[in-house]
Amino acid sequence: MLPGDPLNRVLYIDLSRLSSSVEERPNLFESALGGSAAGIQLLAEETPQGADPLGAHNAIVFAVGPLVGHYPLASKTVAMFKSPHTGNLGESHAGGRSAISIRMAGYGAIVIRGVSKLPIYVVIDGDQVHFNDASALWGMRSSYTVGSVLRVRESGSGLRSIMRIGRAGERKVSYACVTTETYRHFGRLGLGAVFGSKGLKALAICGKGSLPVADRRAYRKIYDELFEAVTKTTLMKKYHDLGTPMNVLPLNTIGALPTRNLQSGRFEGAEAISGERLAEDYLGRRVACAHCPTACIHLAALRIPYPNDPYFYKTLMLGYDHELIYAMGSMLGIQDVSGMLQLIDEAEIQGLDVMTTGVTLAWATEALERGLISTQDTDGLQMTWGEAEAYLQAIKRIVSQPTDFYTALARGVDHAASQYGGADFALAFGGNEMPGYHTGPGAHLGYLTGARHSHLDSAGYSLDQNAARSGEAITPQSLADSLLVEERWRQVLTSLPICLFARGVYTPEVVLKALGTLGIEWTYEDLDRLGRETLQIKYAYKQREGFTFEQLRLPQRIFETPAPTGTFDETFLRQAIEHYANSL
């Protein structure tokens, strides 16, 4: 690390004492770089074994890394916490301005401990930390308004990140998210509930620092090469054009688009909710995270008439991505785009993880169809495939929890199925609800074995699609091996950390060159070590907190609904899981 680079600095904030301090941690950042690798070590230090995820002993770690503030698409912050959703490792990444703000404020990581007596919001402005009363913000109906209020009240427009929670986080819905810059989220695994449990309504971070480089000429040269690769080649084309919703139609064509709680892999309404159709009819604006020229964030403009006044309208601007279209569209059988966008909007207002919310509502709909629950449980709502209005009301009830049933839904499908039955079609893996790919065993093995049970851990969906295309036979062992190699490498990328959409640009060779310009002289072996060790440390943490591969629950539904690779069975997946566990 170069002298003058503030990456070594960790800001510790204690909400119980309303105090803060800074510690230099050069050894941590020299060996771990930052992001995931530094974050998991800080979390393991901070949270004692068995800590209550919603108690004072849980900690929130935000970690950035060396490439942030230097190179394009190094735009992500890694959040590490104990998840109230799975009761185990919580890791969630977000872009927006979060990473740049933390790095420019002069830190490599921020650790938040304790619980505040009063609702508060914290402002980090460079070296200063301010604790502000948030009592008046607590309980506000819309998380958008919280953002608007803080945007006006606090300074630093253009140089800051404002992370905030909605009512879902306040009420500790186990899959409440933290929203930053309106359209980016620490979406998965319930960071919003951890904020809520600490009385932390929002965290604003602002800074305008500078960063040294080792070799100016080489820095500008590598920068230009990267910029060229990002903007002039086809490597980012998918994200640049239609964005991730371009997946909807191809996945539907091959039968991999989970539909009506994965009773099918094909949705008759796929065309209506496709990236193409949304771009044509609704795309109203494109925006980017700080320091990213790609602008993958697609905003739909949705005109909503006032209920009682003719010629009065409001226009919503809503972010949409493949996962949101899957969760609030095909998974619920919804092809009415306006209805789907309003569901996304309601989840944003409440501050919920859209993916888990959609999967949870899909499970509830099937449970209602099968008579496991009644409309008494649902507070009178007749949830029916394709009918957005009932789902809109259900999302509100997940947060307001008028019946025991909604209190159960507020903890996700694993928990709800443990209370009401229906585990065979409760689509969660390692406790985390399913992403929008039913491509074959690779996808599901990835959700099961990935350290954060996310499709982004190891991209099994990509292996499936290659196998389906080539017709090549896959064995449990070969599949597990491929996923492990990918997940290890992604530990490196998320320790820099870069946006995984740029994984095609940031090859090992490019990463080494980029680090070299910052005075970090690493080798291929160093990268390899970092990937292996980080995954091992994550799994050591998971096992310390009670995770076992043997206890992973495999919902039967995934074996019943044919995937593009054909059907596969539990034995195949169990063998693959075992091989993965042994190879770690």
Partner: protein
């Protein structure tokens, strides 16, 4: 913003002479704040020591040795395009080098030579 700093061989944002912020929340998009190279720059007019002087072709040129750090120029610019270097206690303003423009892939930024006054006032 990053390009402006990278021009000086550094990373980060300190010293950037161009600023991008949301137009009141990202829902409403973004605005770019940078010196528009006025032909009768108010920032220069309010400088008590002639440290900020009119630059041939539009905009201003800073003579740092003359600057006393009064910040009148910051107040005078209606766009907020004069930034402040708190270490040196002196203004930071665009030098019209155009280094940033090629790093804007959406042609929002461009470096243009403007000769006729009527072109800018029109």
């Amino acid at each position: 913003m990053f390009a402006c700093v990278r021009r000086l061989g550094k990373g980060g944002l300190e010293g950037t002479c161009i600023h991008v912020k949301s137009a009141g929340g990202i829902r409403k998009g973004f605005v770019v704040i940078v010196c528009r190279a006025c032909h009768d720059p108010p920032c220069a007019r309010v400088c008590p020591t002639d440290a900020l002087v009119y630059r041939e072709g539009g905009g201003v040129h800073l003579k740092p040795k003359l600057c006393i750090g009064c910040e009148n120029c910051v107040e005078a610019c209606p766009f907020g395009a004069i930034f402040w270097d708190f270490h040196q206690n002196k203004p930071e303003v665009c030098v019209y080098c155009g280094y940033c423009a090629p790093y804007c892939p959406y042609d929002v930024l461009a470096l243009e030579e403007i000769k006729e006054l009527s072109h800018v006032t029109g």
